[in-house]
Each structure stands twice: as C-alpha cells, then as structure tokens.
Symmetry: C2
Subunit: 348 residues, 2 copies
C-alpha cells in the first residue's frame, strides 16, 4: 500500500493506493456519516458498505446537476447531518464530483472522503480536490477546490469496470505519463498485456506514479493559477469532443492529446519520433476513434472553454515524452490549427 | 473614510466605510465585470451604476435559492465571463449572499466585491465572507466562506432605506455592541435622535466600530470553528423566529437577544442592571415585538439549527456589556429555557 500526502495552503489529503476499500470503515467517525454512491456501484458493492445511511444517484454525467445537489442536501438535513457530519463518496468521478461539491457547500462545508471505484477517478479525478457540476452543455461551470480528507484507490475494484470505462481511465493515465513521467510512459508501452488483464499490482504501481505526479503539481498550485494547468493536456479539444456526447471523457481526451501532439510537432516542440510514440501508444489501446462532429460545433465549444481568459487560452503543449509546457495563445490559433488538422494536413 | 483590512489564511479584504459608493468605478477592472443587484436598488441607483452589464434579481429572501444562482451563471456564461471575470454586487445582504456564493463557485471561483446598500449588510453581512442560499425553510444550507476583495459601506445610501429595513440593521449594530464594544453600546444609548435621523457621520463612526470588531473576530477565525461563534449572539432563538416568516432578520435577532439576555441573567453571567440596559436599548428603538409562534414550531426549528453539533449546541451568552462567551450546552436546555421564558417566569 502506498500513501501519498497532498498538502495545500489550507488542507491535507491522503491518497491511499492499493488499500483494500473495505478498510474504510475503520477510518470513519462513529456517527454522522452518510454514503453517497451511484446505482451501479451500489449494486455491486452495496452489501459490503459500512453501516451508514446510503444515498444513491443515477450513474453518469447527467447526475452532475444542481437538482441532484439540492435533493441530496435535503436528504442530509432530514438525516440530521449537522456541521460535524461526514460524507463518504463511493464511486467514480461523477459521484466524487457531486459528493465533493456538496460537502464543500453543505452548511458552508463539512468533512468528506472518497473511495474511488474507477480507473479514471483513481488516476485523476479524486486527486486534487476539484469538483463541479455542469450547466446545460457546459461542463463544471459551478464547483470548487476542496481536498477530501482521504481517497482510497483500490485497483481490485477495477475488475468490475466495463471495458469502455476502464480504457477511458487508461487515457488519463497515459496523459500523466506524457506530461510528467517518461518512466511511466515506458512502463505502459511495455506492459500491454498486463494492463489488458488489469493486473492489480501493475495497476497499483502505475496509479501510484500518476497520483504522485499529480500530487506534486497540486501541492504547488492548488487553484490552477499556473503549473496545474499542464494537467489539462489534451483537454481543450478533448472537452469539445466530449460535450458532443459522442465520446467518454478519456476517449475524448485521447483524441485531444493526439491533436495537441500534432500541434506540438508543428511548433517544433517534439520530434517526429516522439509524436509517433505518443500516437502509437494511444492506438495500441484503441483510444483514438473517429467522431463525426461538425467543425463549427467544435469551434463554438472551444470558444466557450472556461480555461479561456479573454481572447487567449492557456494551451498545453508536450515538449518531450514526460514534459509539458503551457503557452498562452490566441483562441483563433487554436481554432485555425484544428481546421488545419482536420483538413488532413497534420504531420504524420 | 475609514479603511479596515481583514486578513485570513487565504485572502485579504478591504472594508471602506464612509466612501462614496460611486467611486467604485475606479476600483474595477476595465473589462469582464458584471453587476448583480436587486430591482429596488436598481430603481433608485441604477442610473449611476458603472457601465457594465447588470443582472437584477427580485428583492428579498426568496431570491436566495439555487434556481437564481443557476440563472445568473447562465447569464454570465452568455456574457462571456471567464475565469478573469469580476462580479460587483450592489445591494443588501441577499444580493451580497447570492453574488458572493455565485462568485465562489462560478468556474470554481472568480473575483468579487460589494457595494453594501443596507445597514444590515454594512454592519454585518458584507464583512466576513459568509454567503449562502436557503433550502426550503432552512436558511443558508448551501454556502461558502469567501472574502470579497473590497466592500464599500456608504451610509448616505441608508437614507433611501425603508424604516423596517433600517431598524432591522440597527439590531445587528446593537448586537455587536453587546458582545464586543461597550463604548459603541453607550454611543447608541446616547444618540437616539441622531440615529433616527440617520446622521451620516454618526452612522459612519458606529458602522466602523462594528466592522472593526467583526474584522478582528473573522481575521482570527474565518471558518467559525471557535471565536467567530460569538457573532451568533441572539441567533439561535432569532433564526427560529425569522424562519416563521413573521419577522425580518434584525427584529428576530433582537427578540433572540432578549431571550439570550434573560438566559444569561438566569445563569448569573450578567447583573440585573446590565440585562435592563440591554432590554431598554432594544425597546428604545422598538425592536422587541410579540410574535405568535407555537412553541413546538420554535422547538422544531432550533432542533434543525445548523449550528447544532450532535445533541449539543454552541449557545452565546453575554457576560457583561461588551462581552460574550460561547458555551456548548445540550439542545434540551435551550428548549427548556425557551419554555420557561415563554411561561412568563423570566427574571425581569
């Protein structure tokens, strides 16, 4: 079991990797706890949940809306949860987003922790304290930065994940490797078979490397005013694809990373060989798919990207395997590269 | 003009007392600003607002609901407000609560500032960074702690306040005097006439004393884990009365202070003379009224008070004019004192 500590200006969070999720019982206060989960996780693991009231939400992105926060808040009030209360989220990114946001605003903030049940949330979503809900078509419009007290990442839970969900998470793992850890990148290249059979020890090791990198970034820049932006590699184009509803987060980010890699190559930041290694790795796990999204729609969505500041946007380029750099560039350039890329002129 | 600085672990806030509110224009960024106000304030002051988009909400507590936050967030998105955006609230407690909460969660937090237009918000609500919206009958269930960058308190704006609103604010001013500043208490005792005619210089002085006290408390304990609780003097019974819908905040708190004063007297924490001075001052401005609220309803509301922790509650007693003390006492004792008090046996 690996224990990674995240320390920010105001909080301390422990990420426990390879810990048996059922040991969470011993980490909770004796009373005032509620569990928030989704119907899928409840079906599979519910009979082994700690003995506290459970509130379950519908699985998927559509639960990231304020009506759900309001309904849960009413349930917490009815259950008598006061300022000493504790929310335990058991689930993937959506559950942790909803529960984390609720915990950050219920009675102006109560304690919370996560048991992360998906690869995506283990490698990414549950570390760093971001939460949020969507507004119409725009992702994470309302949210907060708030560190959970602890996060348990138990890779044995990943055996029950549908393939699509598993590979969606894998894309974020690859993202971390590309932007921050060449050794992790090589490990993913070399362990294709072990990853496919979801080897628990291998995954523990790789999740640990991913979280370690993210933890170092978040400890330095919790509120994403600088360094933390590199974690958004692949997300500018990726979010636009994801919002179209045609792709899960990880697959959308994989395509976004492919485009950003081509952009980096065009800018002379990486070699053709490095660009090929990135594309090959994404292809090796079948993460790059064709999406039939009209260009104008992608452009509209990029224009509304919340990472946009004025007419510029912080775009993340890769400048070597394991290294990334943030550059503030005009939104117009992001749009025109997209057109150039789509027209088939990308450098391969 | 008096400038009071609030420094917390993560933020710095300036409260400008006696500043002409129209000078706010010079304190704003050149672009990306939106103004949030209510229809009453817009009617009176709208033609002198800085030249930025204005979003106006319905006046009063009913706007403190999530639908309003969501609607405003949509308007901000449409107006192209990104992470560099700035919300200026111009209004009373409700406007500042709604705008402050929105600013704390929109795109995970954007900048904000307030022009406080009511006495209640000048002496209390706009200092300290608390914000919140209600859920059904329960006040401030969802909210946050977030310091605005600056708050302008211009007492000349108080001349347009309806009497009820003015006196409601006066009750909070008296609260601060009771718990933290004997000199302010004496000043209010001695300046009945000046207060009634809303003398701008007198009010500036008294608001400054009130904010100074609150600022010192908040700087020490932003998140209300200890000292800050004393600011809730009168609020346990007061909130229960307010929720009944029969009284404005300040009047409800005035009655709550009267009950808490009697409770303090019963506990031997203050002398009969001190209790009389407090009651006399509240009566001098006609702040104590009769509310016909069934006992069981008050009890229910106290049981659901969000300041309750488990079966206990932090109750604020006065132990001398200008001094208060927090004691954790059983909720049952709070309820039984209320019955005792209502049965007319209060010590007078």
């Amino acid at each position: 079991m690996e224990r990674i500590i995240i320390k920010t200006q105001t909080a301390r969070s422990e990420i426990l990797i390879g810990e048996n999720w059922e040991s969470v019982d011993g980490m909770l206060p004796g009373s005032g706890v509620v569990i928030i989960t989704d119907d899928n996780v409840l079906d599979i693991y519910g009979d082994r949940f700690p003995q506290f009231p459970v509130f379950s939400i519908a699985p998927g992105e559509r639960s990231k809306m304020f009506e759900v926060i309001e309904l849960l808040a009413e349930k917490l009030l009815s259950a008598g949860i006061d300022r000493t209360g504790f929310i335990l989220a058991i689930g993937g990114g959506v559950v942790c987003d909803v529960a984390g946001f609720l915990a950050s605003i219920y009675l102006r903030g109560i304690r919370c922790a996560y048991v992360s049940s998906t690869l995506l949330s283990q490698v990414d979503a549950s570390t760093g304290g971001k939460n949020g809900i969507n507004l119409g078509n725009t992702k994470n419009v309302l949210g907060n930065f708030r560190q959970p007290e602890f996060v348990i990442c138990d890779p044995s839970m990943l055996h029950t994940l549908p393939d699509e969900e598993f590979f969606s998470g894998l894309a974020e793992l690859i993202k971390t490797a590309i932007i921050g850890n060449e050794r992790l990148f090589e490990m993913i290249e070399r362990n294709h078979e072990g990853i496919l059979r979801r080897d628990t020890e291998l995954l523990s090791l790789m999740i640990g490397m991913s979280v370690n990198f993210k933890a170092s970034v978040v400890s330095e820049d919790e509120k994403e005013s600088g360094l933390r932006r590199i974690l958004n590699f692949g997300h500018t184009y990726g979010h636009a694809i994801e919002i179209s509803g045609l792709a899960r987060h990880g697959f959308a980010v994989a395509s976004g990373m492919e485009i950003a890699t081509s952009f980096s190559l065009l800018k002379g930041l990486i070699s053709e060989r490095e660009a090929s290694r990135i594309r090959d790795l994404l292809n090796q796990f079948n993460l790059l798919r064709e999406y039939n999204i009209p260009d104008y729609q992608i452009e509209q969505l990029i224009l509304h990207d919340k990472k946009k500041t004025g007419t510029d946007l912080h775009f993340i380029f890769v400048n070597g395997i394991g290294k990334a750099v943030v550059e503030k560039i005009p939104v117009a350039e992001v749009l025109s590269f997209y057109k150039y890329y789509k027209s088939g002129k990308q450098i391969t």
